[in-house]
Amino acid sequence: MTLSSTRTVACLALCLLGLGSLSSALDEEKGRAILARKILIAARPGPSVLDNGVILISGARIEAVGPRSEIEIPEGYEVLDVGNHWVGPGFLDLHNHTASDLRSLNDTVYLTNPGLRAVAGALPDNPAMRVALAAGVTSVLTIPGSGSNMGGQGVLQRTGFRGFEANLIRNPGSLKLAQAGNPERSQPWTPRRSFMNYNTRSTFRRGVAYAKRWSAFEAGTGEKPERDLQFDIFRSLYKGEAQVSTHTQIHQVVLMTVTMVAIEFGLPVFIDHGTFDGFRAAPQAQAAGVNAILGPRAIQPPIAGFIDTDGAILGVAASYQERGHTTIGFNTDAPVIPEEELPLQAAMGVHYGFDNSNMDAIRGLTIVPAMTVGLQADQGSIEVGKYADLIVTTGDPIDPRSSVEWVIQHGRTVYDTSKERRRW
């Protein structure tokens, strides 16, 4: 694209943005009432489905939700009856790379790089994300790659608005830890697990010590430490304001996620991938409160000499569930799987044996990832006080046949197939 056309497009976009925010400001003042045959509440713990329900939206947040017989629609509210369509919470993918400049994915300075930030390459408002939005993915955790044991900090972004600032949810969103199964190949030598565990542990030890020095200073019991950008993320982790998102897979490695990060250092951490025979560590993960965000692999066939399944092709999510794990979500690792296929990841989990009788598949795309990164007060389910991040679908939102007709983010319409061509 030429420079002049970029300017034209930018100018056009600004003009449109101006108009858009004007009309949505009017919407917000008025308040909205959405009537639907089926509303997926997706609270955890709590109800999953509400039939013939109403959602009241005031400003950016949900004001009320309940059966039509119980909710009175205030005067002046815009009433939108979506008929037989379903309404559900927007999806959150905790493993995304495509809302960023992919070229800086595996920047590496040191053996561990907790100071690098994915936000430097953040590009939330791009064509791939506009398609993701049309699939109902309203927020993503964009993280660095797994080129070193610590690739850097992730950033939580929305997908519905124009520009970076409007889409920023939280930075840092996470610290990307890659315990094994990729960092090996990025070094001229081939580090193995004893080295990688040592490497990871020593950085955690220094990082936690750094965070403790700052906490002491803030509590008035210590001197002001020197600021070190390499370790600042550990202050967020130590306070529980960000989590460790862990590229971890294979039984022993997942076990090490639980024992080292969660138990030894007491940091908030979740399994991200968890594939191969990682499910064997599901009971320990469940006991330690380590959530499992699984994918993009959805099945595990037998591998001679490595994973013996007696010939069975195992479902990854089903295997965690069978071993008692109750906090399971799904990811795409986009672009490995295109972001718009996040709901399909849940559907495939169900196909390969994940028990969906309590609608845990939809929770695995909404409230579970929201809880996992500490956003459950703001999003992940249709409950009073949360942001109105809603998707309207023609049916079961994880069924590939169902299309997303309408997306609302923070109470504003951000995608509407009655006004524009279907993107997905």
């Binding site: 490595f306 490995v336 296929e341 399909l344 590939p400």
Partner: protein, 458 residues
């Protein structure tokens, strides 16, 4: 009720038409007349039969004789020696047809001589409902366990290229069509003129491309791989000018020129999830659209659906290979294609493009008894194929194979094909043993090697 049909011309529609006639006038059934101890009879009994080209028959039965469908309907006369599979509560669909496949048959080319009927991928494709697939220029049935009766036809989908990226190739092809048409015109004129002048020499077909001649005569259909609107438009115009019906593989921007393609009588082979973005330098519409299949279908273009990968992938990533053909069809529905058209796009439409529609692609009397039995809507993500039947024989049984028996095991009481439903007969012990395999494997706690570390994820 007893539906009876003429085997030579019979189709379900014909069966429905002649039903009153058959009931009223023909007392002894075809089955009884034709009984021969050597005949192999097989019945799928009591399922909801989705015939594909005809009606949906709830709780109906399909009787096959020597691998061909003999009768479809209710209260059929079942020969005593018939093997019966009770599928009450299940759905019966025609076996799926893959317009493209890789690695299912264990051989590469010359399938008749290279097939491995015990290939794991063949079983996995059957588990996904595929009973017929093209491999290269051959079309074969997934008749697991057999080394004969697999290959249906060969020399299918002859390819042509007509693209603006190869202007001289375009000119050459156009000239070939012109030559073929000139020859046919001259021949037609000669047929008229020779009546008055018997010594008139027959026009020579020297230099006329014999395959192009077949396309112009409508004896075969060429396939083009094309996706940009420019190429698609060029192909549509070429086809309209020379009167052949193109098959277009890819066809990503087909939705933009759908009317032209419809007028050209084109057929499209589509991956519903194909993604290409439009050039930002152009104002006009462009790129892929999830609505592609639906828009083309509305414009009269027949739509065949194939996933992005035509092989069987066990790397762990799912949903995009031939094991998930129905998922791809589901995405076409998302874009607005009707469920019926989506199912046609993985059954009868590909069968037509491959020229095997008289044998497979729908459940009709006289066709091969190639059917799948599912535990739900074939396009629903939770559905599993429980049995696959090829040439009137169960070649896949979910409970009997190791791959998926542990996932939502079939409830006890579901009968296996070995069992007869004759009153008083008890279940075969072997079958009970098979169903024990449904337990998930125990944790074995074996040491994992480093082989699995090779994760290629970024």
């Amino acid at each position: 009720m007893h539906i009876q049909t003429n085997k030579k011309t019979g189709s379900l529609r014909a069966a429905a038409l002649f039903l009153p006639l058959a009931m009223g006038l023909v007392a002894p059934t075809v089955a009884q007349e034709d009984e021969d101890p050597a005949d192999e009879w097989f019945v799928l009994q009591g399922g909801d039969v989705y015939t594909g080209t005809g009606a949906v028959l709830r709780g109906a039965s399909v009787l096959s004789k020597n691998g061909k469908i003999a009768e479809i309907g209710y209260d059929l006369y079942i020969p005593e020696e018939a093997e019966i599979l009770d599928v009450a509560g299940y759905r019966v669909y025609p076996g799926l047809v893959a317009i493209e496949s890789r690695g299912l048959f264990g051989g590469s080319s010359d399938l008749a001589n290279s097939v491995d009927p015990f290939s794991k991928n063949m079983v996995l494709a059957l588990s996904a409902g595929v009973t017929t697939a093209r491999s290269g220029s051959e079309v074969a049935k997934l008749r697991a366990g057999h080394i004969d009766g697999l290959v249906l036809t060969s020399g299918v989908l002859p390819g042509l290229s007509y693209s603006k990226s190869n202007p001289s190739g375009k000119r050459t092809l156009r000239q070939k069509f012109e030559a073929a048409v000139r020859y046919l015109e001259a021949y037609a004129q000669w047929e008229i003129d020779k009546k008055s002048d018997k010594d008139l020499k027959e026009p020579s077909d020297k230099g006329v491309d014999s395959s192009i001649l077949r396309y112009v005569r409508g004896e075969a259909r060429p396939v083009f791989s094309a996706s940009t609107r420019t190429d698609l438009l060029e192909i549509a115009r070429l086809a309209q000018r020379f009167g052949f019906r193109p098959i277009i593989n890819g066809c990503q921007e087909g939705w933009i020129v759908a009317d032209e393609l419809g007028r050209a009588g084109a057929s499209a082979i589509i991956t519903a999830r194909d993604r290409s973005t439009k050039s930002e330098q152009l104002v006009r519409t462009g790129g892929s659209s999830i609505e592609n299949a639906a828009i083309l279908h509305r414009a009269g273009v027949s739509v065949t659906i194939i996933p992005g990968s035509a092989g069987i992938s066990l790397g762990g990533i799912v949903g995009r290979d031939l094991m998930h053909l129905t998922v791809e069809a589901g995405f076409a529905v998302r874009g607005g294609l009707s469920e019926k058209a989506a199912l046609d796009g993985i059954t009868i439409e590909p069968a037509r493009l491959l020229g095997v529609e008289a044998r497979v692609g729908s459940i009709e009397v006289g066709k091969d008894a190639d059917m799948i039995v599912t535990d739900g809507d074939i396009l629903h993500y939770q559905t599993f194929v429980q049995w696959a039947v090829v040439s009137g024989e169960v070649v896949y049984d979910k409970e009997a194979e190791l791959f998926f028996a542990h996932i939502r095991p079939r409830p006890e009481g579901s009968l296996s094909p070995e069992e007869r439903v004759d009153a008083g007969e008890t279940a075969d012990e072997e079958i009970e043993e098979d169903s024990d395999d449904s337990d998930p494997p125990e944790e074995s706690g074996e040491e994992a090697g480093d082989e699995g570390d090779g994760d290629s994820r970024p």
